[in-house]
């Protein structure tokens, strides 16, 4: 045979093999909604985070579920006192467009998330009520000062995606450029987002060389796509669609469901009524029926993996007799126990939320309370959940689901329990002091203070009807070696996906 024939044969083989190899090293991920924005400053939103966070744009530090806070773009950090932390940046890192990463980019990213001309979710969610200033010492060293001082500033920086200092302060970017292991190649609106491996990445290259993100609102369709081999990962599917033991994984998804009680209005302002509400609920009846197996009974606002979670606390026992006697005692003292209590639920908040709320209403009424259920979609629900609360509103309990995958209760406690907290139904000076105290503490002292705060809320104040730590479900194609974790609720690092 002529050499040219061998060459043609060889070329043909390569042409066939290369796409196959490319397909073998690429993944398709199906998300539950189209991304409206892809700017990394919005990466705290779940689906945006699953595409952008640590894939395209990285953070200074990173919280690992098992190993705690780890270096990422910052190699080390130290507390300089007075609310200032010094961060020593990793050297030799560049953005995917070739520009060098330096302290100026960090300063710009922090200023951008707090910009007056842009609404960045990261700034709004994690940096509200504090001023952040930066001082660039040199290209690889930066001082960051928070006012008021934030003992967990390094942890807070695990939420801040670092962008180039040339990015605009007044507009979202449409093609994000970061230091991460993947580059943002293309967004075909309504259809898909394409990423590919960054050849200049400073760290170890992942097995995944390309990723395609597609969007399907219906959970059954997402699950079907993975089952049919059209997708590799559906990070979020409903309980009723998680039917395949080989492909489906449940994981604690960092969400906690609870009833926020309005402590200012009778009869909910009486601790006996709040205890009665807790004793009226048969929490265990929900697990494995309306809610998934693996759902945990909650005693605190944050998941059990959070620092300071008080594992000694027990959920309130289901005890209708005790609930009734508490109500009777309150009634004897003139508490208007017959007043209608509105139970406000949020439509589509989680799988089977309607059934859950109906069951809870029934349980509350079974012990003699007068509870009426009202379900609202998110905009109207927010008017009940967040301040300012309406005057003359009557006694209200609001069902809510709170997410904290960031490892520290500080992301939750002020908002949910302090007198000035946006979603707090409590006005308690002692609790305000406990929260402030724990927030400013460090190390084991911090952990102990949070534990005491949780205990005070759960046992003394009876702050809420604390219900469940939820589980999420993902479906993963057999060809992948990937196990979802608590972080899957907010990020999906392609570098953690391997092929079998």
């Amino acid at each position: 045979m002529k050499f040219s024939s061998y060459l043609k044969g060889g070329l043909l083989s390569v042409m066939i093999a290369l796409p196959a190899m490319a397909q073998a090293n690429s993944v398709t991920i199906v998300l539950s909604e189209e991304l409206d924005i892809v700017d990394p400053c919005e990466a705290s939103r779940s689906n945006i985070g699953r595409v952008v966070l640590q894939n395209i744009a990285e953070t200074m530090t990173e919280l690992h579920p098992q190993n705690g806070l780890q270096p990422r773009l910052a190699e080390s950090w130290e507390d300089m006192g007075g609310g200032t932390w010094r961060f020593n940046l990793r050297k030799g890192v560049s953005f995917s467009d070739g520009s060098a990463f330096d302290a100026g980019d960090v300063a710009h990213s922090l200023a951008r998330i707090k910009s007056d001309q842009l609404s960045c979710e990261i700034g709004a969610k994690y940096f509200g009520g504090m001023d952040i200033t930066t001082n660039v010492i040199d290209d690889n060293t930066i001082d960051i000062t928070a006012n008021p001082a934030q003992p967990i500033l390094p942890l807070l920086l695990s939420t801040v995606t670092i962008m180039r200092s040339t990015e605009p302060m007044d507009a979202y970017v449409k093609e994000p450029i970061g230091t991460g292991p993947y580059t943002f190649d293309q967004y075909i609106r309504g259809m898909q987002i394409n990423l590919s491996a960054n050849p200049n990445y400073w760290g170890e290259a992942g097995s995944v060389k390309a990723a395609k993100y597609i969007f399907r609102s219906d959970s059954a369709v997402r699950a079907a796509m993975v089952a049919a081999g059209e997708a590799d990962v559906a990070p979020n599917i409903a309980l009723q669609d998680a039917t395949d033991k080989a492909m489906d994984f449940s994981y604690p998804n960092s969400e906690t469901v609870y009833m926020r009680i309005d402590h200012d209005v009778a009869p909910l302002n009486d601790v006996r009524i709040r205890k009665a509400l807790n004793h009226a609920v048969d929490r265990e009846a929900f697990v494995g029926s309306i809610l998934a197996d693996g759902t945990l009974l909650a005693t605190g606002m944050t998941p059990p993996s959070t620092i300071g979670y008080n594992h000694d606390l027990k959920p309130y026992a289901f005890d209708q007799a005790k609930a009734k006697s508490l109500i009777a005692a309150a009634k004897a003292d003139g508490v208007p126990v017959d007043t209608e209590i509105r139970l406000i639920g949020r439509i589509n908040n989680f799988a089977n939320v309607q059934e859950t709320m109906e069951a809870l209403q029934s349980m509350f009424n079974d012990v003699g309370l007068n509870v009426k259920l009202e379900m609202y979609e998110v905009a109207e629900w927010l008017e009940y959940y967040s301040k300012p609360f309406a005057d003359g509103r009557g006694p209200i309990m609001v069902e809510a689901q709170h997410d904290n995958a960031n490892g520290d209760p500080v992301f939750s406690m002020f908002f949910k329990y302090a007198s000035g907290g946006l979603q707090s139904g409590i006005n308690d000076a002692k609790l305000d002091n406990m929260i402030a105290d724990a927030t400013s503490a460090t190390g084991s002292t911090r952990e102990a203070k949070w534990k005491n705060t949780f205990k005070y809320i759960h046992e003394d104040l009876v702050g809420d009807v604390m219900l469940f730590h939820m589980v999420g479900f993902s479906r993963v194609n057999d060809r992948l070696d990937f196990t979802p974790s608590i972080r899957t609720n907010s990020e999906l690092q392609l570098s953690q996906i391997k092929f079998k």
């Binding site: 409206d36 709004a124 609106r189 079907a224 049919a228 998110v378 905009a379």
Partner: protein, 304 residues
């Protein structure tokens, strides 16, 4: 005819203006977009910043006249969620919805007319009964359920078709089939009923007596006179599809205007809601005018 068309355009324009004004004010009663765009934990300061950036703090009449001033220059505003011109989002979605609607309604019209006419010609016969049975099921069946079942059977179990998406010819089969079922059932019944009425008329009996072939009787003499009420229903069904086949778009991942509109309403993305309504309303007005013209073509007695 020209005077008629001009009058219809003017009336349509007035309806559109009224609709836009109504929706502009009504949607602003539905809640604060800041609460939906920002996390629940966002401070009031952050919410105020969002409102300021998006002009939501201005008095509502200022917002309205600003919107009207922009609209006159064909500026439909910017999507708060997508940070792009609202009209870009809508036209991108409308392209998919229009394709779905055109293909579906073409197939529906063609098949409903043929099968409905044949069923009416042998009314009470086996063919008629079978057709009536399945058309009533089709008119009643929930498309959400049909879509999911179709995916499970044809995509997951049999592997014949893709589950969803828009990539190839095969991707369109299930969505169009699902969309097809209900209007087909409805229009088939209308065709059948209308043809029954026409086929019992005197001139058709005369044609039969003269020995005219059955297919000529049905499709030449009968159908043309039976079409007027059918066209009305076709127009109505098409309008429904132009509004966006939300369920099909959602299940099969077609990024159409129906889903966009629902999402924008839930997200309080005012500019996109208004742009969607305007584009869809214009499409429906044009379709209604075309139907009026078609009436005149089919029935020479109708003159405007």
């Amino acid at each position: 005819m020209q005077a008629f068309l001009l009058k219809r355009f003017l009336l349509s324009a007035i309806s559109l203006i009224f609709l836009v004004v109504l929706v502009f004010f009504l949607i602003r009663l539905t809640g604060d977009p800041a609460s939906l765009f920002l996390p629940v934990d966002a401070s009031e300061e952050a919410r105020e910043k969002f409102r300021e950036i998006n002009g939501l703090n201005d008095p509502i009449m200022v917002q309205f006249f600003r919107y009207v001033g922009d609209l006159v220059q064909l500026d439909f505003g910017t999507s708060m969620r997508r940070a792009e011109p609202a009209i870009d989002s809508v036209l991108r979605g409308f392209k998919w919805t229009l394709q779905l609607a055109l293909i579906t309604m073409s197939l529906v019209t063609f098949m409903a007319i043929i099968i409905g006419s044949l069923a009416a010609f042998r009314a009470g016969g086996v063919f008629d009964r079978i057709v009536t049975f399945f058309s009533l099921i089709g008119a009643s069946a929930p498309d959400f359920w049909i879509a999911i079942v179709a995916i499970v059977i044809f995509a997951v179990n049999l592997g014949w078709l893709p589950t969803s998406g828009t990539g190839s010819f095969w991707h369109w089969i299930m969505p169009i089939s699902v969309l097809f079922i209900r209007p087909f059932g409805l229009i088939l019944q209308v065709v059948r009923g209308s043809m029954l009425s026409v086929l019992s008329s005197g001139y058709v009996k005369t044609a039969r007596a003269k020995g005219v072939k059955d297919n000529i009787i049905i499709f030449v003499h009968g159908l043309r006179n039976a079409m007027l009420p059918v066209i009305t229903v076709i127009g109505d069904q098409a309008a429904g599809l132009l509004n966006g086949a939300v369920i099909v778009e959602t299940i099969f991942g077609f990024p159409g205007v129906g889903k966009l509109m629902i999402d924008s309403i839930l997200q309080r993305d005012f500019a996109v809601v208004l742009a969607s309504i305007i584009v869809t309303a214009v499409a429906i007005f044009i379709m209604n005018i075309l139907i009026d013209i078609l009436y005149a073509i089919l029935d020479p007695r109708i003159r405007y």
